[in-house]
C-alpha cells in the first residue's frame, strides 16, 4: 500500500543512503553482531579463551549467587539514583542562576564546564587526594583550627560510594548545566513577559511553564547522564580500585575482572549481558515513549 502510493520512497536521497551504508554496516556488524556473539557465549563455560562449551544458565546462577555482583548492583543503584537526581537538580539550578543575565557569565560557564574536559582518571585521582584524610580536605579544615573535623568517606566502607559520587557530580554537572542553559535560552522572551504580566512568581514560572517546555532538553540530559552512569568504570579504578573491601565495586568492573583477572570469559559475558538487559528494560520502553511518540504526530 505504502509503496504503491509513494513508489520512489526507497530511491529518495539515493546518494546519501549509499554514503551511509559503510557506517550502517559498521554499526550492525560491530554493535549488534558482537552483542549477539557475547550473549551467545555467556551460555558457555569459556575460560581464558572463548570456547563453545554449552553450560546453559550456569553462569547466570553463579552471577546472582555472588556477593560481589549484588554489591556492585547496589552501588550502581545508589550512584545512579543520586547522580541522576543531583546532576539534573544542580545543573538546572546553576543554569537558571546563570540565565539571570549576570555579569561574567562566560567566566562562570567556563569554570563549571571545565571539569568535564578532564578524563575520569584525572578526576578520580584528584578526588582521591582531596578526600585523603592525611593531606586532603580534612587536613585543610583541621589546620584552620577545627581539630575534631572528620571527613574521610573513602576510608569508610559505608560512605565510600558517596565519595565517588562527589567526584562524579563535580565532573558531570557542568555538562548538564550547559545543556540546560541552552534550553533556557531557547524559551521565548514573550513567555516570561506574559508570566510577569499575570503576576506569576518566578519559581512558579520555572516549575509550571519553563520546565515542561524544556522536556526535550531534559530527555537529552537524562540520556547522557544515564549512559555515563551505566558505564562508570575508570572513575572507580582511579579513585578507589573498588575498595575499601568491595564497597565501591560496580558492574563494569566486575565484567572486566571476571574476563581478565579470573580468566573466566563466560562469567564476564553473563555479567555484561545482564547489564545490557537492564539498559534495555529501562531505556528502550522509555525512549520509545519519548521519541517515538513525537513522530506519530504530537
Amino acid at each position: 500500500m505504502a509503496s504503491a502510493t509513494r513508489p520512489n520512497q526507497l530511491l529518495r536521497n539515493m546518494s546519501s543512503k549509499i554514503a551511509s551504508i559503510p557506517m550502517a554496516l559498521t554499526a550492525i556488524v560491530i554493535f549488534v553482531g558482537c552483542t549477539l556473539w557475547t550473549v551467545a557465549y555467556s551460555f558457555t563455560g569459556s575460560r581464558l579463551l572463548p570456547r563453545w562449551r554449552w553450560v546453559g544458565l550456569d553462569q547466570y546462577d553463579r552471577l546472582w549467587d555472588t556477593d560481589r555482583w549484588i554489591i556492585s548492583m547496589q552501588n550502581l543503584a545508589i550512584y545512579g539514583f543520586c547522580m541522576m537526581a543531583f546532576s539534573l537538580f544542580l545543573g538546572f539550578l546553576m543554569a537558571a542562576l546563570l540565565d539571570q543575565k549576570i555579569r561574567g557569565e562566560n567566566v562562570f560557564r567556563t569554570i563549571f564546564l571545565y571539569p568535564y574536559a578532564l578524563s575520569f582518571v584525572v578526576t578520580g585521582l584528584t578526588w582521591q587526594w582531596m578526600l585523603n584524610p592525611s593531606f586532603g580536605l580534612q587536613k585543610v579544615v583541621r589546620d584552620w583550627g577545627w581539630e575534631s573535623f572528620t571527613f574521610a568517606p573513602l576510608t569508610n566502607p559505608d560512605w565510600a560510594i558517596y565519595g565517588v559520587l562527589m567526584a562524579g557530580l563535580w565532573q558531570g554537572t557542568g555538562l548538564v548545566m550547559v545543556i540546560m542553559l541552552a534550553g533556557l535560552r531557547g524559551i521565548d522572551e514573550d513567555v516570561w513577559k506574559a508570566a510577569r504580566v499575570d503576576g506569576i512568581p518566578a519559581w512558579k514560572t520555572y516549575v509550571y511553564i519553563v520546565i515542561p517546555m524544556m522536556r526535550p532538553i531534559f530527555v537529552t540530559a537524562i540520556v547522557l547522564v544515564a549512559t555515563a552512569i551505566i558505564k562508570v568504570f575508570d572513575l572507580i579504578v582511579a579513585q578507589t580500585q573498588g575498595g575499601p573491601g568491595l564497597a565501591t565495586e560496580v558492574p563494569a568492573k566486575y565484567v572486566y575482572e571476571m574476563m581478565f583477572r579470573n580468566q573466566n570469559l563466560g562469567q564476564g559475558f553473563a555479567a555484561s549481558t545482564m547489564m545490557l538487559c537492564f539498559v534495555l528494560i529501562i531505556i528502550v520502553p522509555w525512549s520509545i515513549y519519548e521519541f517515538g511518540g513525537r513522530r506519530n504526530g504530537r
Partner: protein, 410 residues
Amino acid sequence: MKHLTKVLATTALVSASAATAAELEVVHWWTSGGEAAAVAEFAKALDATGHTWVDGAIAGGGGTNAIPAVVSRLLGGDPMGATQFNHGRQTEDLIQEGLFLDLTDLAEQEGWRDFVFPSSLLDSCTYDGRLYCVPVNIHSWQWIWLNNDAFAKAGTDVPSNWDEFVAAAPALREAGVAPLAVGSQAWQQAGAITEVLAVAIAGPEAWEQVNVAKDADVAAGPAYAAVFEAAAAARDLAADITVTDWNLATAAVIEGQAAAQIMGDWAQGEFAVAEAVAGEDYTCLPGLGVNPVLSLGGDAFYFPKNSDADVEAAQLELASLMISKEVQVDFNLKKGSLPVRGDVDLSAANDCMNKGLGLLADGKILAGANIALSQDTIGQVNDLIVQFWNSDMSAAEVQEKYAGIIARAD
C-alpha cells in the same frame, strides 16, 4: 667490480651480525627495589651474549595488570620475546592454543630434569608431556617477618610462633608499634589467610585436602574454623596501619612502625635492599613457627611463538641462561627466593634462605595453590577475603562462604 664485491661483503657482514643478535622484549612485573635488582641480573646475562634485553616491566603485584596486557597481546598476534607467569594453571588455555614455544628439546639436550630440584617444578611447566616454561625460582608464602627492635622496644622476646606473637601484641601497641602490617590489596590478605594461616594452623594435610582435593567438608570443618578465628584476630592486629602495596608494608616493618608482616619470601629482597641482617635486625619464621612447610610457588618465563628465526634462537638462549648455575645464584640472592637447582653453591645465602633450603632438602613441601586452583577460584577467594577483611564479617560467616567457593571449584 671491486666496489661491488666490497659492497656485497659489507652487506653480508651486516646481515650476518643481524642474524645472531636479536632484541628480546621481556615482560615481567618485578618493579619493587629488590625485584628490579634481581631482574637486572637476567638482563645483564642476556646482554653479555650480544642480544639485547628490552625491559617490558608492567607494575602491579601478582601480575594483576601485566597478565591481561600479555594475554591480549598474545591473542592479538603481537608476541613479546618472553613473559613472566606464575607457573600453574594460569597458562593452560594459552598453551592449548599453541601460543608458546615448545622447550622440550632444549631441556632434554641440557638435561634439566637431572638438576632441577624439586623436579615437580618442571611438571607444572609441562602440558601433555611437552615443556613450555622455565622455572626461575621457588617462592613460598608461608613466612612471617619480624622486626627484632620493635619487640625489644615493647620489652618482649622475639616470638617463635604465631601464638607468642598474638600474646605480644598488647605490649607492642603500648609501645606505639603496630603489631601487624598488611597491605590493602586483595591478594595480600587472601594469601595471608588461605596460604599462610591455613597451612600453619590447620596443618598441611587439611590444606591439601581443601586446595588440591577441593574437599569442601574440610573447609567447613573445625580445623579451618580455627584458621578463620586466627584470621579475625589478624584483622584486628592489622587495623593500626594502612598501606596499599606489599613492599610498603615490608618497609613499615623494616622501619619499625610495624612489628610483623605475613608475606612470602619475596619480602626478603626488600630487607636485603635495606641492608638489614637476617637474625640480627629481623627474624623470619617459616610456617609461622607452627608448621614449617613451604608451598612451591614461583615464577616462570614463557616464550611466545615468534615468526622470526633469530628471535627464536635468542629465546632459546635466554631460556638456557635463566636456568644456568651462575645466573640462578645471582638472581636468587637478589630476589630472596630459592634457586630451582639442587646443585648450586649458595654459601652467600643468609639465615632465612638457609631455613628455606633446609625445608626443601627435608622435603617439607606443598604444591602451591596457583598450581592447584584455577584463576577463577583464586579470584573468588580474593573477593571474599577482601570483603571479610574490610568489614566485621564473623569468622563463621567467612568460613561458610569459603567452603561454598571450594565446593564449586573446578
